[in-house]
């Protein structure tokens, strides 16, 4: 009898935690961004302001934004609504995002790293190219509707990094005065949304927590 209950517990445990483990493993996949130079900034400003293209060593970038389940695995006190394991984490400060990355021997990307992972070396203005996507960026709703990370299969960068022009904005190490820079989310106007361009940037106080700000890590 005890043996049967023991087996049942193992089965239940397997079915409860295996999917969550898969979710976390899926979310932790990283993509190698090779060393070399790339054009950074807003065209045609890039060619006017930058005498030389920006040169970066090779690095790795999370393929997906950090999910709620992945964040909770590192910070168990973090709470989120049931059924939103695979939604991108949000309401985290810059310091919390940095702490998460460091716990996994990673770090937040610099602005240059973020932008190179998004646009590659051909100076494109969206992660997928230069044309606007016909796919709607977001439902007609005044607030952020989060979907599972990787939901937008069209928003794929030069190197295969996902959702760098949609979903949540992402903390980087770039900053000015006391602010930190976020990259790659959506611009809202009433009930309409547009994808951000790879050079769009927003400065925010690092202590702010917003539903529209998440992050991904680099290494």
């Amino acid at each position: 009898m005890v043996n049967v209950m023991y087996k049942k517990a193992i089965y239940i445990g397997f079915f409860l935690f295996f999917p969550l483990s898969c979710v976390i493993a899926f979310a932790e996949e990283m993509i190698n961004i090779p060393s070399g130079s790339f054009l950074m900034g807003k065209e045609p400003l890039a060619s006017e302001l930058l005498d030389d293209p920006v040169l970066l060593k090779d690095f790795e970038m999370d393929k997906f934004e950090v999910s709620q389940a992945a964040y909770k695995k590192v910070f168990p006190a973090f709470e989120y609504p049931p059924g939103t394991d695979r939604h991108p984490v949000s309401h985290v400060t810059w310091h919390e995002a940095q702490a998460y990355c460091e716990k996994l021997d990673k770090r937040l990307p610099s602005e240059a790293e973020w932008e190179k992972a998004a646009r590659g070396t051909d100076g494109r203005i969206y992660p997928w190219g230069n044309k606007k996507l016909r796919k709607r960026a977001h439902p007609s709703y005044s607030g952020m509707v989060k979907r599972i990370v990787g939901f937008n299969k069209k928003d794929v960068s030069f190197y295969g990094v996902r959702e760098m022009a949609s979903s949540v904005w992402e903390w980087t190490t770039g900053g000015h005065l006391s602010n930190q820079v976020i990259r790659g989310g959506l611009w809202n106007e009433h009930l309409d949304y547009e994808y951000s361009k790879v050079y769009d940037r927003i400065e925010l106080s690092p202590d702010q927590r917003f539903i529209f700000v998440g992050f991904r890590c680099a290494r």
């Binding site: 607030g143 952020m144 611009w187 106007e189 949304y193 925010l204």
Partner: protein
């Protein structure tokens, strides 16, 4: 028949349009004992949005009812409200329909009321019930935010009926529909609730201002990018 109807409709529209031009500043509500939505006259610089027209509130008979999960539910008169420690700030209201407008606001923080009524530990938020039958919910976390105000004064004067006399919320990092006006009752509740706007349209419960575009009325509606959260300029 349709042509006649459309002709009459066009005539009426032309009349009202020319009336507005000829009597700049005139609007129906200002001349009546009711107050409601308007964008005419001085309100071209600060649009007025109400859910439904309502009879103007008389300050001497108005009381703020504080109910729900608190130890000492009570009614406070306008005179009592005006004795609470004053907090002032300049902040911009950003409407979800794109416009924004800025003013200097004075009032008090919710914590001043909480000292009197002592909310129960299980209270997580507040439902505001307003004279225009509008209802809005705000979490205590948001109501305790340093930039959130229960305002009774605008630009150094008591709120006008249009701007929410005698008491309104100012929560500048959320869209204007989260700043209820002409408040009649504050109810402490144990579960997050929904507001009128969220129930009737595609408007989020959260109401946080997203990165996007703003058309400030005080700058000729010239479109500009905003970063999300409070607009500080």
């Amino acid at each position: 028949m349709t042509r006649i109807f459309l002709g009459v409709l066009g005539g009426v529209a032309t009349f009202f349009k020319s009336s507005n031009t000829a009597f700049a500043g005139f609007n129906f509500w200002r001349s009546s004992e009711y107050v409601g939505k308007t964008r005419d006259g001085i309100y071209e610089k600060f649009y007025i949005q109400y859910y439904k027209p309502f009879k103007r509130i008389k300050g001497d008979s108005w009381t703020l009812k504080i109910t729900g999960l608190c130890e000492h539910p009570q009614d406070l008169s306008l005179a009592e409200i005006n004795t609470l420690p004053i907090k002032s700030q300049v902040s911009r209201i950003k409407c979800v329909e794109c416009w924004s407008a800025k003013a200097a606001w004075s009032g008090f923080s919710l914590s001043e009321l909480e000292k009197r009524v002592k909310p129960s530990p299980e209270a997580v938020g507040v439902l505001f019930r307003c004279a225009d039958t509008y209802v809005e919910y705000l979490a205590l976390e948001d109501l305790h935010h340093a930039r959130t105000l229960l305002a009774h004064t605008m630009n150094g004067q008591p709120l006008t009926d249009e701007h929410g006399f005698p008491l309104r919320v100012i929560i500048p990092y959320k869209y204007g529909y989260k700043s209820p006006k002409a408040i009649l009752e504050i109810e402490f509740v144990s579960e997050a609730g929904r507001g009128t706007w969220n129930r009737i349209g595609p408007y989020s419960v959260d109401g946080t201002i997203l990165p996007g575009y703003d058309h400030p009325l005080d700058r000729g509606k010239k479109r500009r990018r905003i970063t999300g959260g409070e607009i500080f300029d």
